[in-house]
């Protein structure tokens, strides 16, 4: 059985999920000089370092963060930028560069190849291409059961399963763009996109690439489009400046005032939003439960379009499409989806007039956001932990309940010393943990915590 022989070697760690967060974590762990370290990275897709986020091959699908912010290493922020420069894929004068996501997948792939080569003699890194079905604590550590019937054992397992592959239930007949269900489509048919955020923008760009000519209707509660990036300098803040632990309205009032004062001094709001970034996790963690809930329900949509921005060129393209009527943005609520395969009648209630409008569409795309109830996840390993009470959803049910040290918390409140989690799964505790600049910091901290 694979891995049995390694079971007694100290510091053996299995990373479940070899997408971006799994690779970033492996890279940080392997910085340790410990010769007995064993890192096993398990990924079900054929390629490591891609996951859902970076598996797109479309050149129009660019990163939403400029290359200068996308290094895999917390202590070497220029790593990705240098990688681009060294290969002639960007020049110093072009900055800020929003590189295609497929290029980022190549960067992570090469990074892992290099690690594999340099660790070949030491045997400290092992890659397994297989789906993980379940994780079980054992007397000496953990056992991860694989879909091929074998299992791997180690002292610790870290979940890095990222975003869910299947849309949340309740989206009716909506499918994910690029999934198997997204079959060939008559380019003159109407489609509806549920969501108006960055995923909708990705869907629009993919439709354009495919030569789609039919109507594109995008619906979300507020119908807000994300803002574009602009070159700037984040303002400097200290934790001593920021109100913590207040209720949400007080914090929002303070933040709006801060933006207003800075704008008076000629500073762009983006520099204020970005200046707050180093403290976002701290702010989130100190809020009472009521403030967190209110934020997710009422303020997050507004926050997201200011905080999670897109490349200026992409924004220009999308805005042009909205102005010309190519994309119709609707602020409202989907109240009914009737019909079946290929012919849907969607009833949308307008946010402003409360009037019902119906749309006949051939396909529905789910771009309603990457946050969903974790207990309904399509990931077998995560699901089996929750089903057996070894893990539980966080109070807001947007991820797994984990400690500030990334340890998962069981149904009865017990903290696991053997099963941990990183990346989007931990958003209930870490709030903004979807993007590489945040994930790499979390991985660096976790590596220090586990290996010293």
């Amino acid at each position: 059985m694979t891995g049995r022989a390694n079971s007694m070697i100290p510091n053996s760690i299995i990373i479940v999920g070899g997408g971006a967060s799994g690779v970033v974590l492996a890279a940080h762990l392997l910085k340790s000089a410990n010769p007995d370290l064993r890192v096993t990275l398990i990924e079900k897709r054929p390629h490591f370092g891609q996951g859902i986020a970076y598996s797109t091959l479309l050149s129009a699908h660019v990163l939403n963060v400029s290359a200068a912010g996308m290094s895999a290493y917390a202590d070497d922020p220029g790593n990705f930028w240098r990688w681009l420069l060294e290969r002639g894929l960007a020049t110093q004068e072009q900055a800020p560069v929003y590189a295609p996501r497929s290029l980022y997948a190549r960067y992570l792939g090469e990074l892992l190849d290099e690690l594999e080569a340099s660790e070949k003699a030491s045997g400290r890194l092992r890659l397994i291409r297989e789906e993980s079905l379940s994780i079980s604590p054992t007397a000496s550590g953990v056992e991860v059961a694989l879909a091929n019937g074998t299992s791997v054992v180690a002292h610790l397992a870290v979940l890095a399963t990222g975003h869910d592959e299947v849309p949340a239930a309740g989206q009716g007949h909506a499918i994910r763009m690029g999934s198997e269900a997204d079959t060939a489509l008559d380019p003159d048919r109407s489609v509806m996109v549920l969501g108006t955020g960055l995923s909708m923008v990705d869907a629009f760009l993919a439709l354009e690439q495919r030569g789609h000519r039919g109507d594109i209707v995008a619906v979300s509660r507020r119908g807000l489009l994300p803002s574009p990036h602009r070159k700037g300098n984040p303002i400097k803040l200290d934790v001593a400046d920021i109100p913590l632990g207040t209720q949400l309205s007080y914090f929002v009032g303070w933040f709006r005032d801060l933006i207003r004062e800075n704008q008076k001094a000629g500073i762009d709001w983006r520099d204020v939003v970005d200046g707050l970034r180093p403290f976002n996790q701290k702010i989130w963690q100190n809020w009472p439960a009521s403030a967190k809930r209110r934020f997710v329900e009422h303020t997050k949509a507004w926050w997201d379009i200011h905080r999670h921005r897109m490349a200026p060129e992409v924004h220009a393209r999308v805005s042009e499409a909205v102005q010309s009527g190519r994309i119709r943005l609707v602020a409202g609520r989907v109240v009914d989806i009737a019909g079946n395969e290929g012919a849907f009648k969607v009833e949308v209630q307008s946010r402003h007039t409360q009037r019902l409008e119906s749309f006949d569409v051939t396909r529905l795309y789910d771009c309603s956001g990457i946050v969903r109830d974790i207990s309904t996840t399509s990931n077998s390993a995560v699901r089996s932990l929750v089903d057996r009470g070894l893990a539980r959803p966080d109070p807001l049910r947007i991820g797994l309940d984990v400690t500030a040290n990334c340890e998962i918390i069981a149904g009865d409140g017990a903290v696991s010393r053997k099963i941990l989690a990183v990346g989007p799964l931990t958003r209930g505790t870490f709030f903004e943990i979807d993007a590489i600049p945040d994930i790499r910091v979390q991985c660096a901290r976790l590596s220090r915590q586990l290996l010293g």
């Binding site: 803040l237 209720q247 007080y250 009472p288």
Partner: protein, 149 residues
């Protein structure tokens, strides 16, 4: 710098933290019990209510109580609401920066050190809960006084 407002606010919260959970206190009782001018205390409690640290009830048997358990309220969080950014001197703040007329902030070593000091202030005050502050107070009293109390 902790102002009178900050000090009174903390005293009022300690007063509330000493009551059984959920019990309301009259503003008058808090004021007289802690030597705080009543009008000033009204304003302070209003701000603490806006920030979500206390709740109030109107009417004859109205009053104030903590909005959350005392071990969930951090002292540093309260001080920021009442006194603004934590800072040992007015120029050592990023958001409420007040320029000193007699020096250049870019080269002022005093300010640079004081920016460091405020981090330390935040570390101490953000670690301590209201419950801890309430209980610590007794440990600082001389033993004889504690025995008498």
């Amino acid at each position: 710098m902790l102002t009178k407002k900050g000090k009174y606010g903390l005293k009022a919260l300690v007063h509330l933290a000493q009551l059984p959970a959920g019990q309301l206190a009259f503003v008058n009782d808090i004021a007289t019990g802690n030597n705080i001018p009543k009008k000033f205390l009204d304003a302070i409690l209003g701000e603490l209510r806006n920030a979500g640290f206390v709740q109030s009830r109107k009417g004859k048997d109205g009053g104030y109580r903590l909005a959350r358990p005392a071990d969930e309220i951090r002292v540093g969080h309260v001080v920021r609401v009442l006194d603004g950014p934590l800072a040992p001197i007015p120029c050592a703040s990023r958001t409420q920066y007040q320029r000193c007329e007699d020096c250049n902030e870019a080269t002022c070593q005093v300010r640079h050190l004081m920016l460091e000091v405020r981090q330390a202030i935040a570390e101490v005050l953000d670690q301590r809960s209201l419950a801890e502050m309430r209980d610590i107070a007794l440990d600082d009293l001389p033993v004889e006084v504690k025995v008498q109390a």
